[in-house]
């Protein structure tokens, strides 16, 4: 699978992110990946970065970053476009700049 994954526990159904080596809820280790892209949630908060600790990001500043609470439970840190504000309904997708990363888009 390409792109970040959520993990679903086969024993209890708990969904978690970032990837762990055990289920956060029941400690089982039978965890199945499912794509994070397509997952829906609510934007909890966003920031606009004007400073990065890595030179490779400096040409991209300012850069929108946010916290999304997925309907399935987990909290995801991802890129957030300028137009979205806290409380917005969003869907995760692959980031344009890097398909290994996630970006939030408004739900139509």
């Amino acid at each position: 699978m390409t792109g970040p994954a959520l993990q679903r526990c086969a024993a209890c159904g708990h969904v978690q992110y970032p990837a762990r080596e055990c289920c956060e809820a029941c400690l089982a280790d039978d965890l199945a990946d499912q794509p994070a892209a397509g997952a829906r949630g609510t934007l909890i908060a966003r920031t606009l970065l004007h400073h990065s600790n890595e030179p490779r990001f400096r040409d991209l500043l300012p850069l929108g970053i946010g916290l999304v609470r997925l309907d399935a439970g987990p909290i995801v840190v991802c890129f957030v476009p300028d137009a979205l504000a806290g409380g917005a309904r969003v869907v995760l997708g692959a980031a344009a700049a890097d398909p290994a990363l996630l970006s939030a888009a408004a739900v139509e």
Binding site: I44, A45, T47, N53, E54, L60, L67, R69
Partner: protein
């Protein structure tokens, strides 16, 4: 919980902070240890317990430091837990002395800083951060605390000026602390006009990483008295990890879980506290501590800051040495800064910033943004 009767903390020391250093972390930790010997009159062999906190000591840990510094302690704790390390070291050391596992415990925290050390630390800070936060713009703690600050402002109606009042008061305190790196006067207008770093955070909301170390000793009260040292008593202490994991964003910390136990053990309440040292890597976290520890209600932190003078001579002396926001954040030493300041205040040795009639202090710690929130919280109540 058993009390901490007859155990004292004493000899607060600070190895001068510096914006950058060519020395390694072990140099700062060794200077702190030497200062503890100077301040106590003890020789190195008398230190039979060690609690050590550092990030940049890596790949070494506390056990390597015993050989580095030629010590043979019979009690050892490595506490790489950032902003909670001071209170947690105090707890560990006090229990070890109570149990007879050590007679005199040196608690030291320190780090170095150079052009790449801070970035290296952030890039590898934790597995979750490395995989799922740092690739998103590498904002480091500025980005994490910006999200918490934004959520707090939205939930509770706090404004930038509310955070600014706290930062300005701390800078006023720092003017009386020769060890603080940032002592130039700061006005609320200066604060509000600063450049954005990670909105809503601007320059003066963010701690400045630096090099340095802090430390103190823990021993039996009778031992301190025999040495002629002014000991500070421990009335109560708490720690908690990964509190409220189901909260979508961190608007409260572990203090809210344990504060009733803290005050019950202390036998006094918030109203009896003469000075407070919160962990202030960003001002919103100080407001969370004031709320969660019961100095005001949830969401009332901004109003509390508006209603009080937070300088050392004011109605609510807070971060009386300037806190990390003005002293600098010397890595793990940031978790000990508030504790050594409280020890000085309660011993009456805080110099030009001495709080009048300082009898009871609260010190709280917070640390380790593993992913989206700080996982460690701790607090203690101390008495002169």
């Amino acid at each position: 919980m058993q009390d901490y009767r007859d155990i004292v903390a004493c000899v607060p020391v600070t190895v001068p902070y510096a914006r950058r250093s060519e020395h390694g972390a072990a140099w700062f930790l060794a200077r702190a240890l030497a200062a503890l010997l100077d301040g106590s009159g003890l020789n190195k062999a008398a230190i039979d317990g060690l609690c050590l906190s550092s990030f940049t000591l890596a790949p070494d840990t506390a056990v390597a430091f015993t050989q580095h510094a030629g010590m043979s302690p019979r009690f050892l704790e490595f506490l790489p837990i950032g902003g909670a390390c001071g209170v947690v070291a105090l707890r560990r050391a006090a229990r070890a002395v109570q149990a007879g596992d050590a007679d005199v415990v040196a608690c030291i925290a320190g780090d170095t800083a150079n052009a790449t050390s801070f970035r290296d630390l952030l890039a590898q800070f934790s597995r979750f951060s490395r995989e799922a936060v740092y690739p998103y713009g590498a904002g480091g703690p500025n980005a994490s605390f910006a999200l918490i600050t934004a959520a707090y402002m939205q939930r509770h109606g706090a404004t930038r000026a509310d955070f600014g009042r706290l930062c300005v008061a701390q800078r006023a305190n720092a003017a009386h602390n020769p060890a603080a790196l940032l002592r130039a006067p700061l006005s609320l207008d200066d604060y509000l006009a600063a450049r954005p770093i990670a909105e809503p955070l601007h320059l003066y909301d963010c701690v400045m990483p630096c090099a340095g170390a802090d430390g103190f000793l823990v021993m039996h009260r009778a031992r301190a008295a025999a040495l002629g040292l002014r000991g500070v008593r421990i009335l109560a202490a708490i720690e908690r990890y990964n509190a409220f994991p189901d909260d979508p964003v961190q608007l409260r910390g572990g203090w809210a879980m344990d504060r009733d136990a803290l005050w019950a053990q202390a036998g006094i309440g918030p109203a009896a506290i003469d000075l407070v040292q919160t962990y202030d890597d960003y001002p919103v976290i100080s407001l969370l501590q004031l709320e969660d520890l019961g100095f005001c209600g949830k969401g009332e932190g901004a109003a509390f800051v508006r209603q009080h003078d937070l300088t050392f001579a004011g109605s609510f002396p807070h971060n009386t040495g300037g806190g990390q926001l003005s002293a600098g954040q010397a890595g793990a030493a940031g978790g000990m800064l508030g504790l050594v300041e409280a020890l000085r205040q309660l011993a009456g040795t805080a110099g030009a910033r001495q709080v009048a009639r300082a009898r009871h202090a609260l010190v709280s710690g917070f640390g380790m943004i593993n992913y989206d929130r700080g996982l460690a919280s701790a607090a203690c109540v101390l008495a002169a």
